[in-house]
Symmetry: C2
Subunit: 458 residues, 2 copies
Amino acid sequence: MADANDPGLLSAPQTSLLTDLYELAMSASYLRRGMNEPAAFELFARKLPPRRDWLLVCGLGPTLRLIASMRFGDGELESLRGLGYQGEFLDYLREFRFSGEIEAMPEGTIAFAEEPLLRVTAPRIEAQLIETLLLNQINFQTMIATKAARVVLAAGGGETGAGDRVLDFSPRRDHGIDAAMKAARAAAIAGCGGTSNVAAAMRYGLRPVGTMAHSYVLSFASERDAFQAFLEDATGNPVLLVDTYEVPEGVGRAIEASRETGVELQAIRIDSGDLDALAREARLLLDQAGMGGVRIIGSGDLEEDRIAALVEAGAPIDLWGVGTELGTSRDSPVVNGVYKLVADRSGDRWRGVAKTSQGKATAPCAKQVFRRIEDGEIRGDVIAIAEERLDGEPLLVPAMRDGELLVEESIERMRERATESLAALPPGLRRGAGGHYPLENSEALERTIAAGTWDASS
Amino acid sequence: MADANDPGLLSAPQTSLLTDLYELAMSASYLRRGMNEPAAFELFARKLPPRRDWLLVCGLGPTLRLIASMRFGDGELESLRGLGYQGEFLDYLREFRFSGEIEAMPEGTIAFAEEPLLRVTAPRIEAQLIETLLLNQINFQTMIATKAARVVLAAGGGETGAGDRVLDFSPRRDHGIDAAMKAARAAAIAGCGGTSNVAAAMRYGLRPVGTMAHSYVLSFASERDAFQAFLEDATGNPVLLVDTYEVPEGVGRAIEASRETGVELQAIRIDSGDLDALAREARLLLDQAGMGGVRIIGSGDLEEDRIAALVEAGAPIDLWGVGTELGTSRDSPVVNGVYKLVADRSGDRWRGVAKTSQGKATAPCAKQVFRRIEDGEIRGDVIAIAEERLDGEPLLVPAMRDGELLVEESIERMRERATESLAALPPGLRRGAGGHYPLENSEALERTIAAGTWDASS
């Protein structure tokens, strides 16, 4: 029953209806016509988003789990009956299980425009019915991982390895609950060292991190009382927020409170004002007090450019709490991934398929991407026909066979791949400075595009 | 157990852990100190987002339901024990139910910077533990409703009433599953006429809308075969997508297919190219074929400026399918709502609370907003102390008492309010042209801010 104020949460099987209506309309027609032989669809971005020179692929693991669990239960079927669907099609949906194959770039891989991030080969209806969910999940998570990786690189002065210094503080600005859960995961894969999001930390095994809010300080008669109380009550190593009033005084009170309570401070946080100047002042005060080990967390509308400038200036900030910008990819909040039919099978012949709309043409046939890496640096990619065997590493690898997940990686493994991929980026591309990236189609693919058709035995 | 590839979906009670870790750290400290007397927090945006002159408030209904259902079950408590929480605090959480009061602007209200969108008055710990979820939900949904309202105004040439002509096509670009569900709802409240998102349409009682994809056309030997098949198999009035190859030829084939099958076309859709020129050409062909009733849907990276230009130019487009831009608020993807302690009670005295950080100062005490409307137009708002009684309509109304929801509105009611609110906007503000809006603090509030303190009996 429709309910205007429903919390709007779906269980995993219910994501079957997280679909554009046209997927159902087309599927019903395919079923009626017996057009359910295998088809191949590829997910790719025609262009990189503004201000991005590469994408850090993310989201595959949770998405494959969702696809494997999509079901049309009685409630869903009843809803579809109300839309005019009936008979054979509803019977088909009742038995629906994704049974196809997926080849995909593993999470943490760097991808460029036009490169397929994944390819689905499945009975046409199955491939069609997972489209919306796939795009909804992969586009968004890839966007966040890409943004987070940019922040990680900025924190490291353009080098990898500083990820542990970046913390996800984004849940309050993320676009809803799923966004908050997946943003924390994507940030971790991109290299970030922790998240303030407790649910995501628990679900994904990430490091939960927390400081204190201004409201805590304001709840006491004085900043000093607040600090003392927080240190006395702390679970774990506490962080004091020193900018509710004036930062230097706040730092002084933090030092006093730590001395009086005998509780060691882990860090202080500065959330407003001139972070460079305030952090220097705070560092001096802490060092003079013999608290050289107390770290400084900077936060407050931080993004990669501001962090890069602060790092460049030598601001003594040890940890970066990044919320809004990381969780929404504010300067570039869309990865325009599309999901296009590239081939289908009739009998034992595969046929390459392409559309020719102005500005939205696609390249026919199942593809693979070969990446050449020399001396630890990416030299260039070639997009080829899937059956070709070219030099370099093939980026799309088997992820699902017969509807079963083949590999599930740990966050650590994905993060390791992301770090390696970022380290292998040509330096000019690491900070999204509009650098050129060598990407070309194989000769065979070019011939196929020129011919406008492609034909191969299965 | 942590699982790197978990689908990441939460049930309603589990949203208790969708919280920043510091909320728990502060709450544990408050409990230990017996600091759990009522406190008042307000949710507001210090500044309007870039390119926005107002906000259309949205998200209250589903958020209150989530708050009412937040629980800490065994799994959640076990997780928290792993973080070092124990004893009395876990016992408190086990019994946690939100028992407080919420006053809020109803969904569909127009709000400006500094105006509280809602106020929570509850035992301090309860008020603190709902912060992250409240911000996560209200910020995002308000952002989408605001964007959708701008698109609706653009479709109407700056006037309300054209909402039925705007369709939400966003699920594939929304930031995850919750975003897709709530974007469809927010768009409907802002006035939009339908959504492609089947799950959201079913859950919220919205009009599901669908066309066809290029992949359908490409699945047949010819565009004509595809159109004919789609019309024969259609449930409801079908829409044909005419730009897989060339639009004029596509329109011709749509006309033929409709004649041959005897199935009436509802609309055609153009998704690429020069929409103005192509729509004029299509209109002419349809009219010449005696199909004046067939409507034209425009889609493809549309946003309010492009729609306004097309409307201004007189492009014969009847319906606007808006995806990416609507579902991500791409040009301004953040509403920077914050949640600030404004007062707390000790014994029978309420104390006003404010922070004074540079650039982030807050105004103390519980507030109300009074809006003066004359001749159907908003003349200005006054932010006052909650107990004041000024001219105009008080915008914050009771939404929850003792943890119980007081009112639940229908989508129609909220949409009606949104339409009235938008119609009452000074014309200069309707299209976000940087117009001035008269907003002031009451004299009593100004005195309170100047005094830096506020004190009142409960």
